[in-house]
């Protein structure tokens, strides 16, 4: 009962404090929104890139073009050998005819037409190997290279590495940006709470004289900072929810991310935004209370 009264007291005082210096509090909240929007954007892009990566990983990982004159018997023996290798998920034979159809389709998808100018182009027959783990590509490729039936090995390793590099760069740049904005946010919240403490200096002095405990003096200010962070977080979540409708199909198309459709993704994103908002508010006000309140006793 006593604890509930304390919580009630602290929440009411925090709420009053927030509106007492509304300009400052709202400015701090605005920076929180800026930071959390950046964070949410970063989370969306990184999730998309990761899912694109997983997509590539799940696709053909090693392609072995077969040498001329490989008989169907030799080919079947090769496929059987490859299937027996560890880390291989499946092996598919692509005939020269099938490869040509695929090539034409690729052009079609781009809105172009494959114009061979009448030249007799013959595509290679190949086997496409998908792996349980993209790391196996090098080993499987090396093993295949030693076989006389195989003319050339093409792996997706380079593509995979490139995307991995992009993701790493995006993550680093994004996190640095969020971190810098985060520092600004922290500064804004520290300052807001400092001003709140100073504007209540008379009350704090009286509270101390009449024997109010430290928690009654401190917690309203800490809650006020948390309020800045949480209000900013809630607004950010609402913003993301609003712009999610146009974003979602793009996520599925561009990043091959089927999970973007599920509510799970938005829930995770909201929880991330809310907890970071809460955290930055709590840390900022805690720093402020520690440095501006204890000195006054």
């Amino acid at each position: 009962m006593r604890f509930l009264r304390f919580v009630g007291f602290a929440v009411v005082r925090a709420w009053q404090g927030f509106w007492r210096n509304a300009m400052m509090s709202l400015a701090a909240t605005a920076t929180v929104i800026l930071m959390l929007t950046l964070l949410a954007g970063l989370f969306i892009v990184i999730s998309g890139l990761n899912s694109g990566l997983a997509f590539i990983e799940s696709k053909v990982a090693v392609t072995a073009q077969l040498a001329d004159g490989v008989t169907p018997t030799q080919r079947n023996a090769l496929i059987a050998d490859v299937e027996a290798m560890p880390g291989v998920r499946s092996v598919e034979y692509v005939s020269p005819g099938a490869a040509m159809i695929r090539l034409q389709k690729t052009y079609q998808d781009r809105g172009q037409r494959l114009d061979l100018g009448g030249a007799p182009i013959k595509l290679f027959a190949s086997i496409e190997i998908s792996l349980t783990n993209a790391d196996q590509a090098g080993r499987v490729g090396d093993a295949l290279g030693e076989r006389p039936e195989v003319a050339r090995i093409i792996t997706k390793q380079a593509e995979y590495d490139k995307l991995l590099g992009v993701i790493g760069a995006v993550r680093t740049v994004g996190l640095v940006a969020v971190g810098l904005v985060g520092l600004t946010v922290l500064f804004m919240i520290i300052n807001t709470i400092r001003i709140a403490v100073y504007s209540r200096a008379n009350e704090i002095e009286i509270m101390r004289l009449v024997g109010a405990s430290d928690s009654f003096i401190r917690w309203p200010f800490i809650l006020e900072g948390i309020l800045c962070g949480l209000i900013g977080a809630v607004i950010t979540v609402v913003l993301v929810a609003i712009i999610w409708d146009p974003i979602q199909p793009a996520m599925v198309r561009v990043f091959q991310m089927p999970t973007a459709v599920s509510a799970q993704f938005l829930t995770t994103l909201s929880l991330l935004v809310l907890s970071v908002g809460f955290g930055v508010g709590a840390i900022g006000s805690w720093i402020s209370v520690r440095s501006y309140l204890s000195a006054a006793r």
């Binding site: 004289l209 024997g211 405990s213």
Partner: protein, 252 residues
Amino acid sequence: MALDSMTATLLRRSVARELEQASSVISMTDLGMTYPNGKVALSDVNVSIAAGEFVFLVGPSGAGKSTFIRLLIREHVPTSGSVVVAGRDLARMRRRHIPGLRRRIGIVFQDFRLLPNKSVYENVAFALEVTGSSRAEIRRRVPQLLNLVGLHEHAQHLPTQLSGGEQQRTAIARALVHDPAILIADEPTGNLDPVTSWEIIQLLIQINELGTTVLMATHNQEIVNAMRRRVLALENGTLVRDEQSAAYEREY
């Protein structure tokens, strides 16, 4: 025989001292306070104030009255000696026990220190609210106190709508919310005219008669001389006089 009577006397003395200490609500022993800048504010102060006493603390500005009071409410920690208030050794007191001490001591100042945006009622209620009292307790206690100080009709007024005397009564009501053992009044009449000052003194006497120990720091000679109470006089940080039924100045 001679030895027996001596033992008896010693025994009587030690019992008397123990009784005195048990009933003393403020006890300072060899108390000294030197500020970090080297200024000696108080040195070798020995005072014992019994529960229910009414004591004046006098002395010129800078004599150490403020330090004396700050040591009592544990705003400062003594640099030597000990100060025991309401059974608590303040030199050894932990920080988290300070609020408990402050609830045993009420304090009022020359400048009242009321919250200007709160009514008389709210100013008194605030002291209960911030120490975790229930609404029911606040509703019961505040009117009692406003009755005691004669302000029940002004409960809804803001401090700016009150006279100086009424503001000081509000401050006194606030200081008494936790039913403290001691009421410290630091120049309570400093901002008041003579008639109002007497009214405040009458109120303090009334509170003292209800059992609260009152310590009043003052420059008001007229009041001290008329009251003939115990007087502690400080000069340059030392206790130069501790007399019962005394006057503001030394009389011999």
